[in-house]
């Protein structure tokens, strides 16, 4: 369902994604994790066909991204972090527009069901500007679910959601996967998504550090109490150690960066 081979993406003179490869089958859920600026969003945007890959071979939902962007967009849904909405449309009009554009049968009935599921029905006639961050996220997810995509890409979907919202979203992801949808969830909250992920893709510095079953990562680090700890152990092994000079007023100071958390905190 998703096949990525040696994906590379260059922004101006900055290589954001550097040779990432992985593949997922229908019904699999992949958690994409990595520090800020690791290249997760760029990877997702390339997969969604929103930006062209500089090089690499990408096949998503039976579509070759170098030629079949239009059919791909019918079968794929991408929900970005803090999704931008039309400020001059209501919640109902958003769903109506998506339903019409994707030619969804009975989109009105499905919209009501989705809004009920995500506890957004009382905002049916509200303008998008009146929605909170979490509500905007929920509406974008509802729009994405409306046309039953074969591939679902979620970028930081839990940010801004309330606990019931997180539970509903995770349950709905499992439900979609049961029906054969391939899902990628990019998130920093590994503890939150570990219960739903079948696979994990760890990216740092634009490179793939680990891809495989979540259980494989656990087995690799038997001392780790949780998947999150196994993730930290895995990224702690990465060849990140390097000495950099940080100029300060009174002269250069040498800091040795040895672990992922420190690296993330500094960057």
């Amino acid at each position: 369902m998703i096949q990525v081979q040696d994906l590379r993406k260059l922004y101006d003179d900055h290589l954001a994604v550097d040779g990432v490869s992985f593949s997922l089958q229908p019904g699999q859920i992949c958690g994409m994790v990595g520090p800020n600026g690791a290249g997760k969003t760029t990877t997702l945007r390339c997969l969604a066909g929103l930006i062209p890959a500089t090089s690499g071979q990408l096949r998503v939902a039976e579509c070759d991204l170098s030629r079949d962007l239009l059919p791909l967009k019918k079968r794929l849904a991408y929900v970005p972090d803090d999704p931008p909405l039309f400020d001059d449309l209501t919640v109902r009009e958003h769903l109506e527009f998506i339903g019409r554009l994707y030619q969804v049968d009975d989109y009105q009935g499905k919209s009501i069901e989705l809004l009920k599921q995500f506890n957004l029905l009382d905002k049916f006639a509200a303008g998008a500007t009146t929605l909170s961050r979490g509500m905007r996220q929920k509406l974008a997810v509802c729009c994405a679910y409306l046309y039953d995509p074969q591939v679902l890409l979620l970028d930081e979907p839990l940010t801004g959601l309330d606990p019931p919202g997180i539970r509903t979203l995770l349950e709905s992801i499992l439900d979609l996967a049961d029906r054969g949808t391939t899902v990628i969830i990019s998130s920093h909250l590994l503890a939150m998504i570990e219960s739903v992920c079948t696979h994990l893709l760890v990216i740092t510095d634009g490179k793939r550090r680990f891809f495989g079953l979540a259980d494989e990562l656990r087995q690799k680090y038997p001392d780790a109490a949780s998947l999150e700890e196994a993730y930290f152990a895995a990224t702690g092994e990465l060849p990140l150690e390097e000495a950099v000079e940080v100029p300060v007023f009174d002269g250069p100071m040498t800091i040795s960066i040895t672990d992922f958390q420190t690296h993330e905190a500094l960057s």
Binding site: L65, L70, P84, D87
Partner: protein, 581 residues
Amino acid sequence: MSMDSVRPASSLSASSLWASWDRPITHWDLGRLTASRCGFRIKRMLKRIRSPRRLMATSLAVAFFCLYLLNGVFILSSRAPADPERLRLWLSGGMVLYAMYHGLRCVWSSQSVADLELTPAEDLWLGGAPVRRSSLAIYHVGSMVVPSMLKTALLVVVLAMDVRHVSLLAVGVFCSLVLLEIIRLIIARWSSGIDQRQRKWFRVAVTCVAGAAAIQVFTRMIAITPMGSPTLVYLLNGVRAMGQTAASEWVQWMSVPWLASANLAVHGSVGFISVANLMIAIGTLPLAILLLVRVDRWSHEAVLKRERNRLAAGEYITQRDSWSEVAHAEPKRWRQLLVRLAPNRAGDAIAMMSRQWVSVVRYRGTILFSFALPTLLCLSPLATGQENEQWLFVVGGIAMCTMLLAPPALRIDFRRDLKRMLLLRSLPVNPMSMVIGQLALPVLITWMYQWFTLAIAVIVVGPGLAQTLMWTSVLSALAVFTFAVENAMFLAYPHHEHAEGVAMMIRAKLTFLGKATIIALSVGMLVAWAVFCRSAVPSAIVTIVFVAGAMAASWLAAILALFVAQVCWRRYDLCHDIPPS
């Protein structure tokens, strides 16, 4: 299917996104989206204009509309009608001159136009939807229809006297304006696709063409104005010369796309020829959209091809390189020194200025270009041979440019920070420091422009120390006043950086009228002050009193405006004042 059978992402040319057109149902859905958005905006506008916070803006807008209509009905209708042939040439040639101006802006601007000027929401929901680029282009052109209709309505009020059929004029002007917008977008997309070397050549070419046009206007003005005429005659003839240039053969050759709509606008009778012109004028629009789609596709491919070439050539840095680069970056010594030497109370304003400085350095080319032409225009009266008036016209020109051209050219103040208002509010900077920090660099750049132009005029005319001192000081105060008022207005009635539409158009007209009124009032007050000084002050000190009074009054107005801007910044409400996009 194995990965071996997947083609490498070699080219976008085969992509289905650019192939042919969508079914009518897609356009219908996009049309419904536009209609829904328009409906929502109209409702929101009606609600907003009734808001007490916007009472003054609403009253001014209503007054403007009434005055405009009254002016159209009673004043413009009583003037002698213009020659239809001249009007036709002006309409088509004027569009070419505007397109040329836009081309010039495009090549000198550092910002490229990506994805047909779509908003982030459109980029996500339409860019991610199964919609071809041609449909997006048509959708975008559809969003230009309402603003173009309003512009047409305003132009029709002014030109109704000059034609027999107002309906033909309206259709002709409307088609011309929509076509101009599409061509503007074509130029912008093409400019986004060219590489740095091509951009340099394009800069030279467009600048040469624009320069040639400017020289033509100038030489025509000199040719039709008798030597030694009053400067005002030169100015009026300058407008005539511009019309003549628009009507000239080479401009008319370039205006071929607008010929049918210009013919239609001035047609004397409804018949076969006018219907043919109508068909051609309307038919030009889909052709232009087709060209836009082709250029858009070419632009995407060109950018991607360069990206791939850079990747293949290894012309990039990896994430780790960039991290190391940031870590090794030397902090600017002069900035540290400035912050250390500045008085404690000014420290926060200087910190704000240092941020603005980054923008000034980044856009230095555009800023220099924006002030080059006004400088030449302001100095042009020096060539008229009218010694008595030269100085005043140079000063008047600088004042006009300071009030009308400097604010749009230097938007590196609150006006570009709408999206960052929350951040600005959260900074531990007192309101006056914030205002000074935001305004200081635009004002400084305007001062540099003023002083440079004045210095040349002083060398040529030699107006004397009192005049030089007074005007240098008054114009400097005017720069402070202008930016303070501009920012105060923005903070009272904020708008998005690239906002368009009726509200913005009325706002621009009202601001222009307001500025013109202030200039006229200032001149009146200065004359009154001069008369008072001459009659009431002993002649020995009349010059000193006059100059000191003028300087004090102008700086008082400037400081007051700064305080008003500070009040507006204090009053700015993050909940109520952020306009919807």
